[in-house]
């Protein structure tokens, strides 16, 4: 167990795969920057792999004061045990007060392993982080300037604020796409610390037999306009209407979990708590009732148009434009209106 170290840095674990930094690490640097400035400590990015010190400049330009590059040929391809071992060793040596990870499959595989080894608290899939005071209700003990870990729970129907008063470091994973990707500032300077972990093959229980990269068929995060369909669309055949409207607008097609579960569209298109978090200029929700899990992934859209037969559907409460009606009639009218103005 690690004692609370109030002088400790804020750490971001920056994920890289095959020589590419994952966006989520850069997104976390923007939030990490805020936390470090509030606490008056440094922001450190930790990057692990075979040849990763070359990412240092980019991490510094995105907000890091210091980059710890743990380099070992045995870290070339991710596997849990050696990465957890290296990170635990670095945390025990440097005693950061906060460690944040991307809530990617890699981050969600690594972070709990590290938390268990350090007996530290960990909060999954945060949508926001802040610094604040806390009074423990049972003991009335007061804790200053803790990491407030804010996340949806119970299928997104409640928002919980979690703290980790004593067993530090305070650790959290943060969902991809939730924090803004900061602009790079090429004038920023920082320190680079190289760390040689000295691993042996015995530290790697797994053999990676092969791996394939699947290009994402759809990039919802980058789409300016998204037309998304839900259970109300009714059938796979009818989902054609969603594609037609999306095509007329040059938009990407999205979906609620219900539509994906019904097999009307591929999981890559899912928006929401268990899908992709999006911030488009326009989000058109068709036949989506608007369960909180879905809203958690799209409510940051600049403009929301909701089309639903049920006037009481919760989606209308986050909408800017609401059309109560039959989508089979409304969508052709919309396509028509879009085409007419060209």
């Amino acid at each position: 167990m690690i004692e609370a170290n109030r002088e400790g840095d804020v750490w971001v674990v920056a994920e890289q795969n095959d020589g590419q930094l994952h966006d989520v690490g850069l997104e976390l640097l923007s939030k990490g920057r805020e936390l470090a400035e509030t606490l008056g400590v440094r922001l450190t990015a930790v990057v692990m792999g075979a040849d990763v010190a070359r990412h240092a400049e980019r991490l510094i330009h995105h907000g890091a004061d210091c980059v710890v590059a743990a380099e070992d040929a045995l870290l070339a391809h991710y596997q849990t045990n050696p990465y957890a071992k290296v990170l635990c060793r670095l945390i025990e040596e440097h005693k950061p007060q906060i460690v944040i990870y991307g809530a990617t499959p890699l981050g969600r595989d690594l972070a709990p392993r590290v938390a268990s080894a350090l007996r530290a608290g960990l909060t999954a899939d945060c949508t926001d982080l802040d610094i604040g005071d806390h009074v423990e209700p049972g003991t009335k003990e007061k804790y200053d300037r803790l990491l407030l870990q804010i996340r949806p729970a119970f299928g997104g129907n409640i928002i919980a604020t979690i703290v980790n008063p004593e067993r530090w470091p305070q650790m959290a994973t943060v969902r991809e796409g939730v924090m803004r990707l900061p602009d790079a500032d090429p004038s920023r300077r920082g320190e680079v610390v190289r760390f040689k972990p000295d691993l042996s093959p015995a530290d790697l229980p797994l053999k990676i037999l092969d791996h394939t990269k699947t290009a994402r068929k759809v990039n919802l995060k980058a789409a300016r306009v998204i037309v998304a369909g839900g259970a109300g669309v009714g059938s796979k055949e009818n989902f054609r209407l969603i594609w037609d409207l999306a095509n007329s607008l040059g938009a990407a097609a999205g979906a609620s979990r219900a539509a994906v579960d019904n097999g009307w569209i591929d999981k890559d298109h899912q928006v929401g708590q268990t899908g992709t978090t999006v911030r488009p200029a326009l989000y058109i929700a068709v036949g989506i009732s608007g369960a909180v899990q879905h809203r958690a992934g799209m409510s940051e859209a600049q403009k929301i148009v909701a089309i639903n037969a049920d006037p009481h559907a919760p989606i209308f409460q986050v909408a800017h434009y609401g059309i109560v009606g039959d989508l089979n009639r409304v969508i052709p009218m919309m396509i028509d209106a879009v085409k007419k103005r060209v």
Binding site: N17, T80, N81, A84, P105, R108, D109, A111, P112, R113, S116, R119, G121, L122, A124, D125, H134, Q149, P152, A153, F154, N157, I158, I159, A160, T161, I162, V163, N164, E166, R167, P205, K207, L209, D210, H211, T212, K213, T274, A281, S289, A291, V292, R295, Q302, K303, A306, H312, P314, Q317, H320, Y321, I323, G325, M333, M334, D336, A337, V338, R341
Partner: protein, 297 residues
């Protein structure tokens, strides 16, 4: 021969069913409208274990931690083909966070290992009430076993090793991992089999002591019923924290480093929207406005 496989499962409120009906007008959720269900990905974990047993032989033991009514998922597991089930129930385990939960499950697996070495622990990737995916890796770490998460397909068990395909988020990879190890499987793994009618009849009377005590208030009658069930192999094994040799400082609230500071129900802003009639004219006007303010076009 064969493999001794343990499956860790959880009974959860059915958060997926939160649609219009389960939502109140103020945007909060009506929990009583949600039934308790077998965590969906845990059913895939059970299926993976049962398939391995069919291919290679062995035993499948299903373990859950929860209140006595969590026995429902254990009976469901028996109906689908599990050989043994264990309920871990103890008031002192309440308010456990993921770290404390993983400690309790670790102690339970250790107790099973003491009876007979375990080759494989299989879990669902995550539970739909918390969505954390933390308990399985934390349990693996305490066991000192390797973990393979996000598994879509267990290809083979041979020579004391397991071969599986997992999702990396960027694509897939195939790994070869020594046993014993812990797996988490996603809903891309083979779909769970239905319960067999024959087994439903055979196990529908299975009860844990906690359930018997609730259903049969008279202690003498409860004891007689427990003995009768035990004689027929229908008494569900029930362990408390003492039974698994757990250090109470690691369990429940005391054993949990994370504390809930605040819970807010999600209440929609309801800031009001512009109502558009489903007519050609009104829709054309809306599209025009979206073009005018550079949202589209």
């Amino acid at each position: 021969m064969g493999y001794n496989i343990v499956v860790l499962v959880k009974q959860v409120p059915d958060t997926k069913r939160i649609t219009g009906e389960a939502m109140r007008d103020d945007g909060t959720v009506n929990r009583s409208a949600l039934p308790a269900v077998f965590n969906p990905e845990d059913l895939h974990a059970l299926e993976a274990a049962l398939e391995l047993k069919e291919r290679y032989g062995g035993r499948v033991t299903v373990v859950t931690m929860g209140p006595p009514q969590a026995c429902e998922v254990l009976r469901d597991s028996l109906e689908r083909g599990a050989d043994d089930v264990v309920l871990i129930t103890d008031r002192r385990a309440a308010a456990s966070d993921t770290l404390a939960t993983s400690y309790i499950l670790f102690r339970a697996v250790r107790k099973l290992v003491a009876e007979q070495p375990v080759d494989l622990v299989v879990c669902g990737r995550q539970a739909i009430d918390g969505d954390t995916a933390q308990v399985p890796p934390q349990t693996a770490e305490k066991l000192g076993w390797p973990q393979v998460t996000y598994v879509e397909c267990v290809e083979e068990l041979a020579g004391g090793r397991l071969r599986a395909r997992r999702n990396t988020g960027e694509g897939t990879e195939r790994v070869d991992c020594p046993l014993p190890c812990l797996l988490t499987v996603t809903d891309q793994a083979p779909a769970p089999r239905p319960a067999s009618a024959k087994r439903i009849m055979a196990v529908k009377k299975a009860r844990s002591r906690a359930e018997i005590e609730r259903e049969t208030p008279d202690p003498a009658q409860a004891q007689a019923r427990a003995e009768a069930l035990q004689a027929r192999g229908l008494l569900i094994t029930q362990w408390d924290l003492q039974d698994i040799g757990a250090d109470l400082a690691w369990c429940g609230r005391d054993g949990s480093p994370t504390k809930v500071k605040r819970i807010q129900s999600v209440v929609l802003k309801g800031s009001g929207f512009k109502k558009v009639e489903p007519t050609e004219e009104a829709i054309a006007t809306m599209v025009h406005e979206l073009i005018e303010d550079h949202t589209i076009g």
